[in-house]
Amino acid sequence: MSKEEKPIKLDFSAIMASSVHDMKNSIQLLLGTLDEVIDDLPADAQPHAKILRAEAEGRRINDQLIQLLTLYKAGNTQQSLRLCEHSIDEFLEEILIENQALLSLRGIELNVACDEEMAWFFDRELLKGVINNLITNAQQHTNNRIQLSAIIHDKKLRLYIDDNGPGYPSTMLKRYREPDEITASENSSESGGTGLGLFFSATIAHLHKNRNECGYLQTSNEGIDGGARCTIVLP
């Protein structure tokens, strides 16, 4: 079995990985510097809305980067997960803190409802990307509330992102088992950013596997006061 030398090929995934590495470092320095600016403000000064805005945009760039890299890799079936057991309460709390300040400036109340003792297996960074994405989506449609909650039911984790807006249009109410089930119209009808959000979320859910089961997304109008509810189900 002697292997032939492969011709030199541009390894785009390597270029991508190295660029993402550099960009992540920049985001780290950007967010860190903004944190320091806030710290330097007098103790009684309200952190300036503009700084919060800049911070939120920095995080959004990060989310978009994760999304970009994930979808690229998923397209090349290179994406695999870093499955570890995490405390769900702590995970949602982290997401809450990161999003709360900016949402409250917009008059949206974000809260978390979850048992303390719950733990589950998931890829922390990717799932955070999904939830941030769904929060971004919810904040465009909600009246003034968004709630994150979780339960373990039938040996699966169910994560709910609820809002009190008008709910999903009836054409979008379904279970997304495979990312390919998302049609172009569903993608474009979803406002907020690139329109890839739902596809990204379904891809990530689908990548979460245990035994022979895959995760999926489910949309319904069982949110707050009949608002939208997006459920991420992970085996």
Binding site: D35, R59, L69, T70, L81, D123, R124, E125
Partner: protein, 540 residues
């Protein structure tokens, strides 16, 4: 104001990017940290870890040239400069699953994804440290080799804190494999896997099967793991080893090649691929693997002169004599002050000169090697010894060859592969049968020592038998039977006089020398079991 503090915590921040280190440093200082050291690369990190005990290590995965974060972690564990009680956190920019997919022993306590912000520190770092604090008593007991105590604490904690069950189970697995209790480790893995596919438990179960020599079971399980998770590099490594045991060296080579495609920076993996490729006569694969092993070794404590020697041999094989000579010359500078390396360098040079047809230079190199052998005694590796003897025979230095062969045989009197290699070397040089004499002499010398030891034991003179075996072990540090008998004598002594911490440690020391030796496994397990019982009695 933060509700918790990092005051009195020793922290090491490893990142190749200066600004990143300063930023992390300022963030940590905001939480009260005062003692923060920094390292700009993996080598520096290892050095600092060797000289200081840190409470927390924040290590970036991507460290530019040289070692990456995973290599730092593996090397630190290997050199035992990273106690379980230290919290090692890997900071990553890209979500690469491969680095997580190592064996349990080489996993960090947690991963932090960039950007690491004040919020991350506040929420995650605190939780990670809380968890670590919770298991600290157990890890400290394991670090101190107080296994009985650690196991007891583990059981108690499991009842008190069901939420941390998986964390504790992985600690318990580490514990069980350290003391070599395969049956209990198997039961534990199966219990974990009853609920869901947990990678460390899957691999752990395969490892147990391998250790129990149930190779077909191990292979079936590993095939299944890899089908479901093609990034699980550690599973490839074990599968390749299993395939070798099942006699499928071609398959083993293919498996390793796949693992290397995913994770090329492992010295051991490249070395093994080189061996397999030579065995399968795929010389171009062998050349590449051995070159890579040598290059990766530049950044690793695991490197050996043999990496250069073997690369050079493969180059000769592939008709690249001049390059081979260059590699041979590099050994001395790469391993300054190492006698075994100097000896191997000379032999290597001699072999290459022979291949290039320069007999004068070849013989001069053998003479230089012999001088070294006379000066530094029998502590050379069997590789170096046999190669030197082979070259001696070539230049009619039979007497010298015999002396060397006897030393090698004494160190390896039960290692069939080594003895066979000696025989073969002599046969090829036209001295068929001659080696058997040397080997027989060595075997009978060891038999005499063993008989004498047993006689002393039977006469109740156990301390004297220990002395005899210890002396023999010093002269033949690599001889497995002598090591086992030394350990056994200590155990007999404890059976007579009662358990003692010192004797347990002595016995463990000699058992450790044969820990990974297949042929010694049964005896090792039996003695280890005795050792554990005494360890429990002394509260170790």
């Amino acid at each position: 104001m933060p509700l918790w503090t990092l005051k009195n915590t020793k922290i090491l921040v490893v990142d190749d990017y200066t600004e990143m280190r300063s930023m992390l440093r300022r963030m940590l200082m905001a939480y009260g940290a005062e003692d923060i050291k920094q390292a700009a690369n993996g080598e520096d990190a290892i050095e600092q870890m060797a000289n200081n005990k840190f409470d927390i290590i924040l290590c970036d995965y991507n460290l530019g040239e040289g070692k990456d974060g995973q290599q730092v972690l593996e090397e630190a564990k290997h050199r035992e400069i990273l106690p379980l009680s230290t919290t090692f956190i890997m900071v990553t920019a890209e979500n690469t699953a491969i680095m997580v997919m190592g064996a349990l022993d080489y996993q960090p306590d947690a991963y932090l994804s960039k950007p690491v912000t004040k919020i991350t520190l506040q929420t995650r770092l605190k939780k990670i440290l809380d968890k670590k604090e919770f298991t600290k008593e157990i890890s400290t007991a394991i670090d101190k080799k107080e296994f009985g105590q650690a196991s007891k604490l583990c059981d108690e904690a499991m009842t008190d804190h069901p939420a941390l069950r998986l964390e504790l189970q992985s600690l318990q697995y580490t514990l069980l494999t350290t003391i070599g209790d395969d049956d209990a480790a198997e039961a534990l893995c199966k219990q974990v896997l009853a609920d869901r596919d947990v990678p460390w438990a899957q691999l752990g179960l395969a490892k147990v099967y391998f250790s129990q020599q149930k190779y077909s079971e191990a292979k079936a399980l590993l095939d299944e793991i890899i089908t479901n998770n093609s990034d699980f590099v550690a599973a490839f490594d074990l599968l390749s080893k299993t395939q070798i045991k099942l006699g499928d060296s071609q398959g083993a080579e293919e498996t390793l090649a796949r693992a290397i495609e995913k994770s090329p920076k492992s010295l051991i993996r490249q070395r093994e691929l080189g061996e397999l490729a030579v065995l399968n006569e795929n010389h171009s694969v062998a050349e590449r693997a051995r070159r890579d092993a040598m290059l990766i070794g530049k950044y690793s404590v695991l490197r050996q002169p043999d990496d250069y020697v073997k690369y050079s041999q493969t180059l000769v094989k592939n008709n690249k004599g001049k390059e081979a000579l260059k590699i041979a010359d590099r050994i001395k500078t790469a391993f300054k002050g190492d006698h075994d390396a100097r000896l191997q360098a000379e032999i290597c040079k001699s072999t290459v000169h022979q291949a290039l047809g320069d007999e004068t230079k070849a013989e001069a190199a053998v003479d230089a090697a012999l001088l070294l052998y006379q000066k530094y005694g029998p502590n050379f590796s069997s590789n170096a010894g046999i190669a030197l003897a082979k070259n001696c025979l070539k230049y009619n230095k039979e007497e010298e060859a015999d002396t060397i062969i006897k030393d090698v045989a004494k160190n390896n009197h039960e290692n069939k592969a080594v003895l066979e290699e000696i025989n073969q070397t002599y046969e090829e040089a036209g001295f068929a049968g001659k080696a058997s004499e040397a080997i027989a002499a060595a075997v009978s010398e060891i038999a005499d020592i063993n008989n004498e030891g047993v006689r002393l034991i039977n006469e109740g003179k156990i301390s004297e038998s220990i002395e005899l075996f210890k002396k023999a072990a010093k002269a033949m540090p690599l001889n497995h039977t002598i090591s086992l008998n030394t350990a056994q004598s200590y155990i007999l002594l404890m059976k007579k006089e009662g358990a003692s911490k010192q004797y347990v440690n002595e016995a463990m020391f000699y058992l450790d020398a044969v820990k990974n030796v297949d042929s010694a496994k049964k005896k090792y397990d039996e003695l280890m079991k005795n050792c554990r019982e005494f360890a429990l009695q002394t509260g170790l």
